[in-house]
């Protein structure tokens, strides 16, 4: 996924291990990242199910507080 690809690039720039196959840590991070995004994607699907975003935002309009 693009987010993890970006992470790999950052690792390379920082002198870290760029090869996902050779580093246990990176593999673990990649697996955690995949799990995170899969859970996030599923959560977004559930949250948006049947929702109309325009109406949702109109309902959510607030006044300033503090």
């Amino acid at each position: 996924m693009r987010f993890l690809q970006r992470f790999n690039t950052e690792q390379r720039q920082c002198g870290g291990d760029p090869d996902p196959g050779s580093g246990g840590l990176l593999q673990q991070i990649r697996a955690e990242g995949d799990r995170l995004l899969a859970a996030g994607d599923e959560a977004i699907q559930r949250a948006l199910a049947g929702s109309n975003s325009e109406a949702f935002l109109r309902a959510g309009r607030q006044q300033g507080g503090e």
Partner: protein, 520 residues
């Protein structure tokens, strides 16, 4: 070791919908507060229509119809996070009870968020209070570089509320800060708020209003813990901010909030430049060097450990902190969602810049409202020369206006997702991901939230306040009133002075009934 007290105010955003139609929320919120009065053990707030609870917290309706939960005074960051979460659970229970008193199908939602993605520029707060004894006038210099740069871990993440496009930011709230220092909290807000209303005797209260409501325990813990330690070091005369004075704090805040790489340097006074993470490391290293000094709290070493862990994560880039902190988690989700919706995330910056150029050319206010793209690029465009040049630019880059149309069409969906991220309850994205075990945000020792809903912290005056509220809440005839500093019964003419924030015993005094009006 020194004791410190801190507290957190969370203003919630509440909305109501019937099916797909928005419903007027004011009556719903009033009903919610009536239920709070009727169902939560409480004593009437003597300074507003709110109530003090048996855990020593305060729940009331703040301006702008924002229900606000103020934690009791907490002696460490574990408790501060615990009571913030106790506030969320209290709100959730109230919402569940409210469902039984509303029309069938009415959906009432409550959000941890601090900006409105409409075009009305509304924002509301998540304030922190830190007790200290330093002269308030010397605080801004020590705190401002920290408040600006802590955004790298304490930013809620989201979208720039005044952008016409879709501009991810580490801190949507940052766009509402207009000054480095200000006494105002509703207009021209400052990074540093000069309000000094101690609400106790013998101390000052640092009131921080530039922060945001967070979901991650780790982000909250480090935010509260690090700020507490910097206040302690400033109080001890170490002047922790002197070496990292920002040339322009407001510009620096905008830079930090917009820098997803975390690598852009900030101008310091003189000629030096430092990244936000480097400035945070400056504060951290000083805290580590003094973590066992007598002026530091006992928990300083653990805060330093978590603070370092967070900065080390961020040094490896946002992806490494996804799942642990709010904004990197949001960034990952939103990029992934864009991919699923076939929207090129890497092009957003280009489209945002292009929209900004057109907005300025037609003299439209930067209020985050819907951009009238078809009128601007259509046959009757008011800026034909610019549109022609931009069309040529798109052609050279192999892009089409349709991609911008798509981005604008998806904008409300991304805004909804951002609001839903911090929604309380089972439809909240963070809650769902946490439930699925996909996050790594928890801090050991932040637990027993259920207990914190019913009981005050173990130290400080909040312990006494909570105990009294628990004891007298059912005494409807006592005419009990409470403020942060006092509890008073009109009927019995008894007063408990809690102006000492570390009060350990209930020392009740006689107070004539006729004095009741002047007590609060």
């Amino acid at each position: 070791m020194a004791e410190r007290l801190l507290g957190v105010e969370t203003e919630y955003a509440i909305s109501a919908m019937q099916g797909r139609e928005p419903v007027e929320r004011v009556p719903v919120i009033r009903r919610l507060m009536e239920l709070a009065h009727a169902t939560l053990p409480n004593v009437q707030d003597g300074s507003s229509s709110g109530l003090f609870l048996e855990n020593g917290a305060r729940l009331y309706l703040d301006c702008g119809m924002h229900v606000e939960f103020s934690t009791p005074e907490c002696a460490n960051p574990w408790d501060a996070v615990r009571y913030v979460e106790a506030g969320h659970q209290t709100m959730l229970r109230l919402l569940e009870r409210l469902a039984g008193h509303c029309a069938p199908g009415l959906e009432v939602n409550c959000f941890r968020v601090n900006v409105d993605y409409g075009d009305n520029g509304a924002t509301w707060g998540c304030h922190e209070s830190y007790m200290h004894r330093l002269s308030p006038s010397s605080m801004p210099q020590q705190l401002i570089p920290h408040l600006v740069t802590r955004v790298v871990y304490a930013g809620a993440g989201g979208f720039h509320p005044f952008s016409s496009g879709l501009e991810f930011t580490l801190s949507p709230r940052a766009a509402h800060m207009e000054r480095a220092i200000s006494s105002d909290s509703t207009n021209e807000r400052g990074i540093f708020h000069t309000k000094d209303e101690p609400l106790c005797a013998g101390y000052h209260r640092l009131h921080v209003l530039c922060g945001e409501s967070l979901c991650s325990q780790l982000a909250m813990f480090v935010k509260f813990g690090a700020t507490s330690l910097i206040v302690a070091m400033a109080e001890a005369g170490l002047a922790p901010g002197n070496a990292v004075q920002l040339d322009s704090p407001l510009d620096a805040l905008r830079t930090v909030a917009g820098d997803l790489t975390l690598k852009r340097p900030l101008d310091l006074k003189g000629s030096a430049r430092r990244t936000a993470i480097q400035i945070q490391r400056h504060y951290l290293e000083m805290a580590e060097a003094h973590r066992s000094d007598s002026f530091m709290p006992l928990w300083a070493p653990e805060v330093c450990k978590q603070w370092r862990r967070v900065l080390d994560l961020l040094d490896r880039g946002p992806a490494a902190a996804a799942g642990a902190l709010d904004w990197p988690t949001k960034l990952g989700l939103y990029m992934s969602h864009a991919e699923r919706r076939v929207l090129n995330w890497n092009h957003l910056r280009f489209w945002n810049a292009l929209l900004e150029r057109m907005r300025k050319a037609i003299g439209l206010t930067a209020d985050g409202g819907r951009f009238p793209l078809e009128q601007v690029i259509g046959p009757g465009t008011p800026i034909p020369d610019l549109v022609k040049r931009l069309s040529a630019l798109l052609s050279r880059r192999g892009l089409e206006w349709n991609e911008l149309r798509k981005m604008l069409a998806l904008r409300p969906e991304f805004f909804e997702i951002d609001m839903r991220f911090g929604q309380l309850g089972p439809r909240g994205l963070f809650s769902m991901m946490d439930e699925a075990g996909a996050l790594d945000h928890r801090v050991s020792g932040i637990d027993n939230i259920e207990h914190a809903m019913r009981n005050p912290p173990a130290t400080g005056r909040a312990r006494l306040r909570g105990a009294v509220v628990k004891r007298v809440a059912g005494d409807g005839h006592g005419g009990w009133c409470c403020t942060w500093q006092r509890i008073y019964s009109q009927r019995y003419g008894r007063l408990l002075d809690l102006s000492d924030p570390f009060a350990k015993e209930e020392l009740w005094q006689d107070a004539p009934v006729e004095e009741s009006a002047s007590v609060f």
